[in-house]
């Protein structure tokens, strides 16, 4: 990775293969990258794989054919990129991963991975619940009954968040996940599943949703059942998009773990370093926090996405 | 008409039947289509299966060849009880069948249609060359000179029928079943078919033949089985049965209306009136050369011609089913280009197509809906026909045309072929047209009903309806029409007032035009080789 092309005319050409535009989080992510690229004079080639790995591989291959200086992408899934990454390596084009990792045998196939740690996010959610277990036993029956709204079955964030969460709540045996069902990361899905949970079980204390959208859907279902979200049933979600933060500030959600989509600046920074031949760490974790209701009120005015 | 050709006595007693069906019954829901019917087939005979529309002929054939499951009774094949469970099984056992409606696939070539399932192969692969060559040879035997590589749906229904026949006779079969193979064929083709049938008969094949043309029965058949209302009436030698006896057996009463038509065919003075329809130079590339035609009120214009002469094309252009490339149409005094059938229907033109299966029948709708379709279409969907009027119209026409079963709610596809044809005729009569174009309206219609339909046409013409009448049966055309248009090679070659024209005259007109053009229809040349 010598970045010779960038020295020719001074501008960097970056090929970026996005997963898709499946959520508000993702569009914020795309926007951040596109805007930063423009601001920093990087010539960005952008494609949207519409959630399909084969599209993403084809896009990367076409970047290789177009001889871009650097390729960045958020893998649709973690496996299966070996072949195309080897082609990129053979063509001397450095690769940066964002958002999600890939699972390859040869770590030299990519320069660095910039993104969140989904397991960690789940762990944080779990930690908060363990800390607030006493409060969370809303109906005071001695057990904290949690229902989980999973993301799309098989998707890495869904698997990892569930794993991190389960690991942490195992520490407290009053906490129990009584039902878990996929809501496909959408509000509608979250609402419908939550409706059903409410009908069949009236001892629910806590909802853990794998993203804000499903949490927002659950809020609607809880309200329709005549209960008060945030009080009668506690809600924990992940992402911290604006709508989620608003609900948090209004007291309808109790805790949100942030998953930061604004990777643009860090990505451009890394790309420049890589092309300049500087050493970069193999793993760059994005800076992200977590919010309770008070913090949300403070942070909300600056929230852009 | 009543000169039965001498027939060899049936080989009864000496030879045993190849196939014997005993007391076969089949029920469809509440309809008892066959009620203990028996049939015996001997090798080396042509056996006619006779009966009115809906008598159960096609059902009996389908029961034999494994299309329908038999409810009761037994089939004995060469002395052994045996029932076929699929058409394929019957075919393997040496029964080759042409079913009533053309049952070929429109999207494949003529040769493929003939050879499907037994294509000649070389090194395991189908040899297209061999296939085409063999198909062409078989077709030429039947006097059909078409390119076997052309797709089937490019050809008119008559050719398709001949292809279906060619497919059936091309195999080594013990039994050949032909269900109304001649319904849209001209005399020439029929003659060629008979030649082939005689040859096969002499080779020992047993042939089942269904036709509503009694002349054909007397010409070719040796014995016959007569059905009525799903029941067996009798089995007879053709030579020992007069036409009157036969008809009485078939319909269960005397037939009165048969020959009464010519005397009261109405005459109109074509010279003075304004034509209701006038075509000048009407033509279409590759199908019809520029043609003039006039049609006056209350007049029946018959169109005569041989297979492929362009009669159907002319009719379609008059109705806007195809759009004309050249020429113009004038309705009374209004000049009009027809871009779709709607335009014609709006001018009170009606057209009954020769291809009832593809262009007429809406199989999954009821008889009533089928009858009212054209009227409803012209009223528009916002003005449904009131219930009382529906019942009235449907019941009237079911009675008038003697449609069986007389059930307006029966599904159209379950009707017998002839009854479907009557429903389609009713569809158009209900619209009360001023101009009625009938392309082979009596195709597959039994003898009683044919007379009924002819009478109906004559009656309507007397009331002022103008009719264009096309039929492969020249006698019928001559009997009905006031004026005769003769066509050949896709153009009009003559026009006569039909007072004194005979079948022979028409044939001479057609033959007289037959300059030795390279494109001349092979059928008309080989007409005398029987």
């Amino acid at each position: 990775a010598d970045g010779s092309a960038s020295e020719d005319d001074g501008t960097i050409t970056m090929g970026f293969a996005q997963v898709g535009a499946e959520s508000g989080w993702r569009t914020a992510n795309t926007k951040s990258i596109q805007e930063t690229a423009e601001a920093e004079g990087v010539d960005l080639k952008f494609t949207d794989a519409q959630g399909k790995q084969e599209n993403q591989i084809q896009a990367i291959r076409s970047y290789i054919q177009q001889k871009v200086d650097v390729i960045a992408f958020s893998p649709v899934v973690e496996t299966g990129f070996d072949a195309v990454l080897q082609e990129a390596k053979a063509a001397g084009i450095p690769v940066i991963l964002t958002d999600r990792a890939v699972d390859v045998d040869d770590p030299s196939l990519y320069e660095t991975f910039l993104g969140s740690d989904f397991v960690l996010e789940g762990e944080r959610a779990g930690d908060w619940l363990v800390e607030n277990a006493a409060d969370s036993d809303v109906n005071g029956d001695g057990t904290v009954n949690v229902v989980q709204l999973e993301g799309t079955t098989g998707a890495a964030p869904a698997i990892d968040r569930a794993e991190g969460f389960a690991e942490k709540i195992a520490a407290d045996d009053t906490i129990e996940v009584t039902a878990s069902q996929t809501g496909d990361f959408t509000r509608d899905g979250g609402k419908q599943v939550m409706e059903s949970f409410l009908q069949s079980d009236d001892t629910i204390d806590v909802v853990f949703a794998h993203n804000d959208d499903m949490g927002l859907g659950a809020i609607e279902a809880i309200e329709a059942a005549g209960l008060t979200p945030g009080e009668d049933i506690k809600i924990i979600t992940i992402d911290a998009v604006k709508d989620g933060m608003t609900a948090l500030a209004e007291g309808k959600i109790n805790y949100i773990v942030e998953c930061n989509p604004l990777l643009g600046p860090q990505l451009m920074d890394l790309a420049k370093k890589v092309l300049a031949g500087e050493e970069v760490p193999e793993r760059v974790v994005t800076e992200e926090g977590a919010f309770d209701q008070e913090q949300a009120k403070a942070a909300l005015p600056d929230r852009q996405y | 008409m009543t000169t039965p050709p001498e027939v060899v006595a049936p080989p009864e007693g000496e030879r045993s039947p190849v196939i014997e069906m005993r007391d076969i019954s089949i029920t469809f829901g509440a309809v008892r289509a066959l009620d203990r019917v028996s049939l015996r087939l001997f090798p080396g005979e042509v056996h006619a299966l006779m009966g009115e529309n809906g008598a159960g002929k096609s059902t009996l054939i389908k029961a034999l060849t494994g299309v329908y499951t038999i409810d009761a009774g037994e089939v004995i094949v060469e002395g052994e009880p045996h029932e076929f469970h699929s058409p394929a099984a019957s075919q393997e056992a040496g029964i080759s069948t042409v079913y009533q409606e053309v049952n070929l696939v429109p999207n494949l070539t003529v040769a493929e249609n003939m050879m499907l399932g037994r294509e000649p192969r070389r090194f395991g692969a189908i040899s297209v060359r061999d296939m085409n060559r063999r198909a062409r040879r078989t077709l030429l035997h039947l006097g059909v000179d078409i390119d076997p590589r052309s797709t089937l749906d490019e050809h008119p229904i008559a050719i398709q029928q001949l292809v279906a026949i060619a497919r059936a006779v091309d195999v080594e079969a013990k039994v050949l079943i032909l269900d109304e193979p001649t319904s849209s064929l001209d005399a020439d083709e029929v003659e060629k078919l008979f030649t082939v049938m005689r040859r096969l008969r002499d080779e020992g094949v047993a042939i089942v033949f269904v036709s509503h043309f009694l002349d054909q029965i007397y010409e070719i058949a040796d014995r016959m089985t007569i059905l009525r209302n799903g029941k067996l009436v009798e089995e007879r030698m053709v030579a020992q049965t007069t036409q009157l006896e036969l008809v009485r057996s078939m319909i269960g009463r005397e037939l009165e209306t048969l020959d009464r038509l010519d005397c009261e065919a109405p005459k109109t003075d074509a010279e003075t009136g304004v034509p209701v329809l006038k075509a000048i130079g009407l033509g279409r590339k590759n199908s019809l050369e520029a043609t003039d035609l006039e049609l006056f009120e209350g007049e029946v214009v018959g169109i005569a011609g041989l297979l492929g002469s362009g009669r159907t094309e002319l009719a379609r252009l008059l109705f806007g089913a195809d759009t004309a490339d050249t020429g113009e149409l004038t309705f009374r005094s209004e000049r009009r280009k027809l871009r779709s059938p709607r335009h014609a229907i709006d001018r009170k033109v009606a057209f009954s197509s020769e291809d009832r299966k593809a262009e007429g029948v809406v199989g999954d709708l009821t008889v009533a809906d089928n009858m009212l379709l054209a009227l409803q279409a012209s009223r528009g969907w916002l003005r449904p026909i009131p219930q009382a009027m529906r019942t009235q119209l449907v019941d009237d026409y079911i009675a008038a045309l003697d449609i069986r079963p007389a059930d307006p709610h029966a599904l159209m596809r379950n009707l017998s072929g002839g009854n479907q044809q009557k429903v389609l005729l009713a569809r158009w009569l209900i619209t009360q047209p001023e101009i009625l174009i009938l392309d082979e309206p009596t195709r597959g219609i039994d003898i009683g009903a044919k007379a009924q339909i002819q009478a109906k046409v004559a009656e309507l013409a007397a009331q002022g309806l103008s009719v264009v009448f096309i039929s492969a049966e020249l006698e019928e055309v001559l009997r009905l029409s006031d004026r005769l248009v003769v066509m050949r090679d896709r153009r009009k070659i003559d026009e006569r007032v039909n007072a004194d024209v005979s079948v022979r005259d028409v044939l001479e007109i057609i033959a007289g035009e037959a300059h030795p053009e390279p494109q001349a229809e092979p059928q008309s040349e080989g007409a005398t080789h029987v």
Binding site: K45, Q66, I159 | S86, N103, L104, N107, E112, L116, G117
Partner: protein, 335 residues
């Protein structure tokens, strides 16, 4: 063809070439081909590096699995049926391959297991469709659910494939001069060739067309309708499994989220290639071209690289629209 025999001496090859008109049944394919070339030319003019022959070869490599899917789908659609399960079967195949390899099976056993599973699934759907009269759309929709469900059953998480035979097959390239192609693409082209032969030159193939033309006629003609109708679903299942193998070579992993909606791509490719959904008319070569057209639309968009997520979808739709409309007008003249 029947013209130009007035003067045999001057009827040169050129005259015959000039007066040659292909039979109308080839018009859809020829139109597709012409439009494909047009799209390629358009890309070549607009984008640097597009006119490189390697772009074409990459199209074959990147779409090898879709080509094979299209072949199976062509058989089904020619009989007037449809197979919605193929995308899920692809996912299931990648999963079976990955899981069995992970469990230490030999690659050949694993490949056999994959092909067998796809074929059996196809057989089951075919039997449902023919013997129980269940509409193909629904039977294969159940197949879609079933195959996807089995995939989840095997593993919810994705599994990498690191078997040597698989990786070697995946990376092995064949050089044609300075350009290269992968084995997967060659397998796909071979599938097309075999399928074209089967459809054109075997009784099975002709029966497929006959059923599409009129199933009841085919039955009355005594053709082997049951065998053929079940057969096309078996073929489609087999092709889906083979495509699944090619896909696992392509991405060297098994994943339950693979190939969601890929059945629509396959159907679209077949239909774009000139095959009628009502059955009876069409060619596998058309489906190959259909896949290439879909692929080149994607390539055009990624070469452009300036489109936002939603413009990518809109432009894809517009290109598709332009394509089918032009194709429609190009083939309409025949009637």
């Amino acid at each position: 063809m029947s013209t130009a025999t007035v003067n045999p001496g001057s009827a040169s090859t050129w005259d015959r070439v000039r007066s040659f008109t292909p039979p109308p049944r080839y018009y859809p394919i020829l139109a597709t081909l012409a439009l494909f070339i047009g799209l390629f030319g358009l890309g070549g003019m607009r984008y640097e590096g597009f006119s490189d022959p390697q772009v074409l070869l990459s199209l074959l490599i990147d779409n090898a699995f879709l080509i094979v899917l299209g072949v199976g789908m062509t058989f089904v659609i020619l009989t007037g049926g449809i197979d919605l399960s193929v995308g899920s079967v692809v996912a299931l195949s990648t999963m079976i391959a990955a899981k069995t390899l992970q469990m230490g099976w030999s690659p050949y056993a694993s490949i056999t297991a994959v092909l067998l599973t796809g074929t059996v699934l196809g057989l089951l759907m075919g039997l449902l469709i023919h013997y129980f009269d269940i509409q193909p759309f629904i039977a294969t929709l159940a197949g879609l659910f079933l195959a996807r469900g089995l995939t989840y059953l095997i593993s919810v998480e994705s599994i990498s494939i690191s078997d040597d035979t698989f990786t070697q097959l995946a990376f092995k390239t064949v050089y044609i001069g300075e350009y290269y192609i992968r084995w997967t693409a060659i397998i796909a082209l071979a599938t097309v060739a075999i399928a074209a032969f089967v459809l054109a030159r075997t009784r099975f193939g002709r029966t497929v067309y006959a059923i599409g033309g009129s199933e009841s006629s085919a039955m009355l003609m005594g053709l082997r309708v049951a065998f053929t109708k079940v057969g096309v679903y078996v073929i489609s299942g087999f092709c889906a499994a083979l495509a699944g193998l090619l896909f696992s070579l392509y991405i060297l992993s098994g994943n339950s989220l693979h190939a969601i909606g890929m059945e629509l791509d396959a159907i679209a490719a077949v239909v774009i290639g000139g095959t009628l959904l009502t059955g009876g008319r069409g060619y596998v070569v058309g489906s190959l071209l259909g896949v290439m057209v879909l692929g080149i639309i994607k390539t055009l968009i990624s070469f452009d690289g300036t489109l936002s997520s939603y413009w990518i979808r809109i432009i894809t739709g517009l290109l598709l629209l332009a394509f089918v409309v032009v194709q429609r007008f190009a083939t309409r003249r025949r009637s």
